[in-house]
């Protein structure tokens, strides 16, 4: 177990380091440095201003110095400074990230619950047509653009029916509807993977044994099949962190909510490379940490993973 954990944490750190290095290299490959790109939005910036700003933000240092000082900064939570506002990137993001985290995490929980309900309904459906209908829902959800679904719901709920305000006012609907829009989109891949994995588990002999012993279909599904089918669905849930972030930014824009979405829009419009770089690193870190957590939860869910490396789950050394 200790070896498994150490290996996973090592891999996670490696991925974060590689992500940082690649982003750093990509920024170096740009035709201009971040300061020049940022100032190019104004009319003909004066070279003295550019030089002064470069010195202020450390872009005049040799590349290796920049690389290591920024890398060291990451470990102390220093993600550099936003070019547009001069604020530390961490502060700028920290001020609004709470609202986005609330949206994203409630959407994530809703999406997982929704996916499980969908799969349960499809599996336990008595009629073949109903089952076919439910199975076709996730591909539909995956094809619906988040911004469009949000706008259509706004149109129907607040303009046609008047049950919700156009702008966030703290009412239940104005909180629940954005969460629902995001959750529907995120639930699609989870439901698709869970459906497939549940189908696989149903072909295993132990299910026949349970049936022969007289267990009811819902008992078999919730008590036995779901647990055995959960691992691949957990993997995909970890991977949806990226979708969740992109979806949050778009949902916030549609519903005029405060959050990371605003920062992203401002950073891109102002061509603030430093801020976008910070955003990317933070998200990559969040992604890696969530997936590390998923990997570490695996053995609790399915102790077999520590013994054998099959099942498409992470190959682990015997602890």
């Amino acid at each position: 177990m200790a070896a498994y954990i150490a290996r996973r944490i090592g891999q996670a750190l490696l991925v974060i380091w590689l992500a940082y290095t690649l982003v750093f290299l990509a920024v170096q490959l740009l035709p201009n440095d971040p300061v020049t790109i940022f100032l190019s939005a104004d009319a003909a910036a004066d070279p003295a201003t550019i030089a002064a700003m470069k010195a202020q933000y450390g872009y005049d240092q040799p590349l290796l110095v920049q690389y290591f000082s920024q890398l060291a900064g990451l470990f102390t939570g220093d993600f550099g400074y936003s070019l547009a506002s001069g604020q530390p990137v961490a502060e700028r993001i920290g001020a609004v990230v709470g609202s986005t985290l609330v949206l994203a995490s409630s959407a994530f929980v809703t999406a997982v619950l929704f996916a499980v309900l969908l799969v349960a309904a499809a599996t336990l459906a008595r009629h073949a047509w109903l089952k076919r209908l439910i199975i076709n829902l996730p591909p539909l959800f995956a094809a619906v653009p988040v911004f469009w679904l949000g706008l259509v719901l706004l149109q129907v709920l607040s303009i046609q029916l008047g049950v919700m305000s156009l702008f966030p006012d703290g009412s239940f609907a104005s909180i629940a509807v954005p969460v629902l829009v995001l959750a529907i989109h995120v639930s699609a891949p989870i439901a698709q993977v869970l459906l497939k994995s549940v189908d696989n588990v149903y072909t295993q002999p132990f299910v026949d044994v349970l049936r022969a012993k007289g267990a009811s279909p819902s008992w078999i599904f919730f008590r036995h099949v779901l647990k055995n089918a959960a691992a691949p669905a957990m993997t995909i849930s970890g991977i949806t962190v990226g979708t969740l972030l992109a979806g949050s930014v778009i949902t916030e824009t549609v519903f005029a909510r405060a959050g990371l979405g605003q920062v992203v829009l401002q950073a891109v419009t102002a061509q603030d490379v430093a801020l976008v770089q910070g955003l990317v690193l933070l998200t990559a870190t969040a992604f890696v940490v969530v997936n590390l957590a998923v990997d570490l939860l695996y053995p609790l869910l399915d102790p077999r993973i520590l013994k054998s490396g099959t099942h498409g789950a992470p190959r682990a050394l015997v602890a």
Partner: protein
């Protein structure tokens, strides 16, 4: 398209005449091509391709300059999708926007396909060390959400369709690389690959004549699905304003423009979105059917 795809399979059948599965493949493929579902999926997609190539054949209205007197008309027999605040026909704007959206998505998918196939091939054929390095690289690409990769590119090179396509394309490299790697690993353990090596084939000739053509099925299926994913990503980023500037009728931008008139003209946002949903669903369906045809 069918002839080009059939060829490698028949060649495989000749090389390995005793492999029943490989011999059966062309027959099943032919059956799938005769299935009505396949054509029901393809026909509307071909029509959308027609929108992109010859937009004026499908709509007589001008997408850029409208008739101010006809502004905000609800959908009807004259204007199928209604008209916008300048009296422009929305259906015509959707049709004329197809080429912009498809070109950007096509650029994205080509980048994903070419670079992803290259990386997948290297990972699967160039030894264990190359595999480890490539797969870690792909892990990193997976760890940085595609959305953010697009944001970096768009920020650094100024918003526009090309930076959008490149960004979304880089984001799709990882999935292509993974599929190509697993498919090549499967194919290269087959008997005819060994036979090709024994007949004096070099690394490159075997890879390009035998391994690549025979692993193309699942890649083709992914291509269809990924085109849909790219269209979704591009319309989302276009909605945020990171794509083509306003007068261009791009699908995401169309919906973003209609957003201001949500209260008075529902059709400006709703109907272009229906087109996006339909195209993405059809592409996903095409991907599923291609998958069925090739993976037997």
């Amino acid at each position: 398209m069918s002839i080009k795809l059939e060829e490698p399979l028949t060649r495989a059948a000749v090389v390995a005449p005793f492999d029943v599965e490989v011999i059966a493949a062309p027959k099943k493929e032919a059956r799938a091509l005769r299935s009505p579902m396949f054509w029901l999926t393809c026909a509307p997609l071909v029509m959308v391709l027609g929108w992109a190539l010859f937009p004026s054949l499908f709509s007589g209205f001008d997408p850029i300059s409208g008739v101010p007197a006809e502004k905000f008309q609800a959908p009807g027999a004259g204007h199928w999708f209604g008209t916008d605040h300048l009296g422009r026909d929305v259906f015509s704007r959707v049709v004329h926007g197809t080429s912009q959206t498809l070109l950007t998505a096509g650029l994205a998918v080509s980048i994903g396909l070419v670079v992803g196939t290259g990386l997948g091939l290297i990972a699967a054929t160039a030894g264990r060390a190359a595999d480890a390095v490539t797969m870690r690289l792909i892990d990193v690409l997976l760890a940085v959400p595609g959305f953010l990769i697009s944001l970096i590119i768009v920020t650094a090179f100024a918003p526009g369709p090309i930076s959008l396509g490149v960004g979304v394309g880089i984001a799709s490299i990882a999935s292509f690389a993974r599929v190509v790697r697993s498919e090549v690993l499967r194919v290269r353990s087959l008997d005819y690959v060994e036979a090709a090596f024994m007949n004096g084939g070099t690394y490159w000739s075997v890879v390009f004549k035998h391994i690549l053509p025979n692993s193309c099925g699942p890649v083709l299926a992914l291509l269809a699905v990924d085109l849909g994913v790219a269209i979704l990503a591009i319309s989302g980023l276009g909605f945020l304003g990171f794509g083509s500037p306003p007068p261009t009728p791009e699908w995401g931008l169309l919906i973003a423009e209609g957003r201001q008139y949500l209260a008075s003209a529902w059709w400006l946002t709703t109907l272009p979105g229906v087109v996006i949903v339909a195209v993405v669903i059809l592409l996903a369906g095409l991907g599923r059917q291609l998958h069925k045809i090739f993976r037997l």
